[in-house]
């Protein structure tokens, strides 16, 4: 049974079907049909929870290219399951939401087909065991993300944002592919599980670190880690359901997933530990710092997503310390808490960020803007949306009674643990980890406050709004309401999630390490973590109130020195350089193109001949010469050269006839009667055709090209002729292969023909001859239509 593979392929099938059937649905919104797919898949994956949490894993293999080790092997373990549940669960809610969010003017079949494409690709990423298959799905997510960001493609910003996300994520994808190939070179397998077993013996291999960093590059670009985060804010041009789904809940977590999946492979290595932790921490801080200055609610959420992704990434980095060799089981369990917190926060982030995106989408949809300078006082108009937004923000800020509090406390515990780690040179710098974590959390509190207070409190500014705000339909409120419910439910019953999903998932990140998954508790007593949270609230409130006084700090960063400017400038530079290069040789002159072709031929073919040492001239096997033949050769050579100097076109065409008829003579001499006959007929017809055409063509003018052009052409012509001669002589002197003509000499027995040439044409290769007839036929149609076709001139009356 290929149940899991079918689960991956089902959305692809839906993506193919949706454009076909949407016309037959009448007034039924295609979204309702699309909704059935993630719902049923979600049910399927929920059904797997008991077995997976009992420690089982499932593997299915569909053979694709077994000879080179590329098979569609899917592997469902705790880590894959938790991702699959996020993909299908959030996917269901987002589709329900989008049914109300999108208007009838939008191209719904495109939207849902792209969304299904993404869903299938994303499931493929998190369930594939084979790296090559994973890579294919990985790039498919980039492509579907591109299509969805550019969904409103009539907007310039949408197209630019789509291009930016595609360039950056595909760049990372290519790097990752190179890393995968290096892993394959070292271990000889594409299976992630197999590599995890075998790679330990290659820690000193020269490809070990290149492979690690290339794989990380793929993960960092996809998960918008600093400095590749710049694509995510621009991706907010996508419709809000897409932002909620791809660009906060699922696709950007592919990089997180990849790092988690590769922790058993690279975990315990100090370079891995430092890179993942530091990049995560810098992203955490930079994202939060930039979120505060945003005036567009979606851009603010984008930066906050970047920041939260950095948080999860740094946790995975800290947790990888548990894989270090030579530490005690207790220490491994303590460090492993960070990885548990990463998974926990990943789930929590999907709930609160999904809810927030949907709430902001409702504000945008119902009010007509999401610019916080125009918003304010919406609490009275959108009470439900307000409730959802405040639950999501409070969870993101890490306040009690919401799931974000639990994972943020765990984050602090893990970061404080870095103080005690006596490895990787952490002794002196370990204090940085909790300090950055705390500072970024203060900033997180500030931007969460901005979302709630600037939008829903303060004065209502009806003069700045296009619409009078009213609550949206129930179907639009339901998805974020479900997520808000989960936010609270997880806080009160965290171990339901922890025991059944996170613990088995942790086993996929840190295999063989037991005891790292804690019993989650909300109350730990008055410990450092709690005081850190209290300090966050105090400092965060102060910073929020005094924001106007310190926002000048953002002006300290010159506008020309951002990563965005670097991206824009290099893109412009590349475009300029490539158009300059292309225009420099694509001149529109046919002679130029011919000159490139022949020069390339001379350099490539002639050069290969000389450098590879294939040049070999041996005259020993030549057949004897006769006087007639020498005479014919001389005649032909003279006729050919004379064409170049012909004064009139009639003499040129007659000289060409001399060549043709001489070749017919050669065919006679070389025992080829059929060729001689054909050549005579064809040459006669060709000569007549030329002469007839000349009646309609202008006179033969003297070639009046500049001298240097003539010299260049002469050099190309002579070297070209020389190359052909040398290749011909070398081939003639070598005897590499046995001739196959002996086979055809049985033509009477095989084909019933005594004329071998005719038998080849009419029997052995009859299909070729048939198609040759087709070519003649097509040429005939071409000739006929070129002569008869009358191009209607476009009326030019306006100009006259």
């Amino acid at each position: 049974m290929y149940l899991i593979i079918s689960a991956i392929l089902l959305p692809f099938a839906a993506a193919a079907l949706i454009p076909l059937i949407h016309n037959r649905l009448g007034r039924l919104n295609i979204g309702w049909l699309a909704l059935a797919i993630p719902l049923s898949l979600f049910a399927f994956f929920v059904y797997q929870i008991p077995a997976i949490s009992a420690g089982e894993t499932f593997t299915e293999t569909l053979y694709w290219l077994p000879s080179i080790g590329i098979d569609m092997t899917v592997y469902l373990d705790g880590l894959g399951l938790i991702m699959a549940l996020l993909i299908t669960g959030v996917g269901s809610l987002v589709i329900l939401y989008s049914i109300y969010y999108l208007s009838a003017a939008d191209s719904l079949p495109h939207f849902y087909a792209y969304l299904m494409l993404f869903m299938g690709a994303m499931l493929g990423v998190v369930l594939s065991d084979n790296l090559m298959v994973l890579y294919v799905f990985w790039e498919l997510t980039s492509i579907s993300s591109f299509l969805l960001i550019a969904f409103w493609y009539h907007r310039k910003n949408s197209r630019a944002g789509a291009q930016k996300s595609l360039l950056i994520t595909v760049f990372g994808g290519f790097a990752m592919l190179a890393g995968f190939l290096m892993l394959h070179t070292m271990t000889g397998t594409f299976s992630v599980r197999q590599i995890a077993v075998e790679l330990t013996q290659y820690a000193n291999h020269e490809l070990f670190y290149p492979a690690m960093f290339l794989v990380l590059l793929g993960a960092f670009t996809k998960s918008a880690q600093f400095p590749f985060h710049i694509w995510l804010p621009d991706a907010m041009e996508a419709p809000t359901p897409v932002s909620a789904y791809l660009h906060s809940a699922t696709m950007v977590k592919a990089g997180i997933y990849l790092v988690a999946r590769f922790t058993p492979i690279f975990g315990g290595n100090s370079a891995w530990f430092w890179t993942v932790t530091l990049v995560g921490l810098v992203t955490l801080f930079w994202g939060a710092f930039n979120a505060i200055r945003q005036t567009d609610l979606k851009a603010l959420l984008a930066y906050s997503t970047i920041s939260q992704l950095g948080l999860i990434m740094s946790l995975l980095g800290l947790g990888s310390a548990a894989m270090q060799t030579g530490i005690t089981a207790e220490a491994a369990a303590v460090y492993g808490l960070a990885s548990f917190a990463a998974l926990f926060h990943m789930v929590n982030h999907s709930t609160f960020k999904g809810a927030l995106f949907m709430a902001v989408g409702i504000v945008d949809h119902q009010v007509g803007t999401r610019d916080i300078r125009r918003l304010g006082g919406l609490m009275a108009f959108l009470p439900f949306t307000f409730t959802i937004a405040i639950i999501g923000s409070a969870s993101m800020a890490g306040l009690p009674f919401f799931n974000g509090f639990l994972s943020k406390e765990m984050f602090f515990t893990a970061s404080l643990e870095a103080l005690n780690m006596e490895m990787f040179g952490l002794g002196t710098w370990g204090w940085l980890v909790p300090v950055i974590a705390w500072a970024a959390s203060v900033l997180t509190f500030v931007y969460c406050a901005i979302i709630v207070f600037r939008t829903f409190f303060g004065a209502h500014k009806p003069e700045k709004l296009d619409k009078i705000p009213v609550e949206p339909p129930f179907g639009m409120l339901l998805p974020p309401a479900i997520l808000s419910f989960l936010i609270v439910a997880v806080f009160f019953f965290p171990n339901l999630l922890g025991d059944h999903l996170l613990r088995p998932a942790l086993n996929g990140v840190l295999p063989g390490i037991t005891g790292a998954a804690p019993h989650i508790k909300a109350w730990h007593g008055f410990n450092t973590e709690l005081w850190m949270t209290v300090a966050i609230v105090v400092f965060g409130t102060i910073l929020f109130i005094s924001f106007r006084k310190w926002k000048g700090i953002y002006k300290l960063f010159p506008a020309g020195w951002t990563f965005n400017a670097l991206y824009t400038n290099s893109l412009k530079g590349i475009e300029r350089a490539s158009s300059y290069l292309t225009n420099s040789y694509m001149t529109g002159h046919l002679p130029h193109y011919f000159a490139y072709i022949f020069s390339f031929f001379v350099i490539a073919a002639g050069g290969t001949l000389i450098w590879s040492g294939a040049l070999n001239i041996d005259l020993a096997n030549d057949s004897p010469l006769s006087v007639y033949e020498i005479l014919l050769v001389v005649v032909m050579a003279m006729a050919a050269v004379a064409i170049l100097f012909a004064k009139s076109r009639v003499s040129a065409i007659l000289l060409n006839g001399v060549l043709g008829f001489s070749i017919a003579m050669f065919f006679v001499l070389f025992r080829a009667p059929d060729l001689a006959l054909t050549q005579l007929v064809i040459e006669t017809v060709t000569t007549v055709l030329f002469l007839v055409c000349f009646n309609y063509l202008p006179d033969w003018k003297k070639e009046n090209s500049p001298k240097h052009v003539k010299v260049r052409n002469t050099i190309i012509a002579i070297t070209g002729g020389l190359t052909i001669t040398l290749i011909g002589l070398s081939v003639n002197s070598a005897d590499l292969y046995e001739t196959i003509s002996g086979y055809f000499e049985d033509s009477y027995e095989l084909a019933g023909g005594r004329n071998i040439v005719n038998a080849i044409l009419g029997d052995f290769r009859a299909l070729d001859t048939l198609l040759e007839g087709l070519v003649l036929f097509i040429a005939g149609i071409g000739v006929f239509s070129l002569i008869r076709l009358k191009v209607r001139k476009e009326p030019n009356d306006n100009e006259n």
Binding site: H589, F594, A595, I643, L675, V685, G720, I724, G728, F744
Partner: protein
């Protein structure tokens, strides 16, 4: 014999390339015609020359020249004729429409 023919092929190729590089359309077409002559000779020579009798069974012979290149050339002759005819008419038509057979002047025509 083979060496001599191959050198002739080289001469024909050089002439053909020079003509094809010309800016006059008729010269280009003549060049392609000479190209096919050169290629036919080359293919025939590669199969070996005069090392057997005519490839007709029942001629009281046991050794025949290679028949395969001959079959190839027979096809090639016909195809090259079709191509020559087509480009000739193309040139005719281009001259009718554009009033020139100079490739330099054709550049930038509306049809491009």
């Amino acid at each position: 014999m083979e060496t001599l023919i191959i050198i002739l092929v080289g001469v024909l190729t050089a002439v053909a390339i020079y003509l094809v590089l010309s800016r006059n359309l008729i010269r280009v077409i003549l060049g392609t015609a000479i190209f096919s002559h050169a290629v036919h000779l080359l293919i025939l020579t590669m199969g070996g020359l005069k090392n057997g009798t005519v490839p007709l069974l029942g001629e009281d012979a046991t050794i025949f020249v290679d028949a395969l290149p001959q079959a190839l050339i027979l096809t090639a002759i016909v195809i090259s004729f079709a191509v020559t005819a087509f480009v000739l008419v193309l040139a005719y038509r281009a001259y009718q429409e554009l009033g020139t057979d100079d490739l330099e002047e054709m550049r930038g025509a509306d049809d491009e």
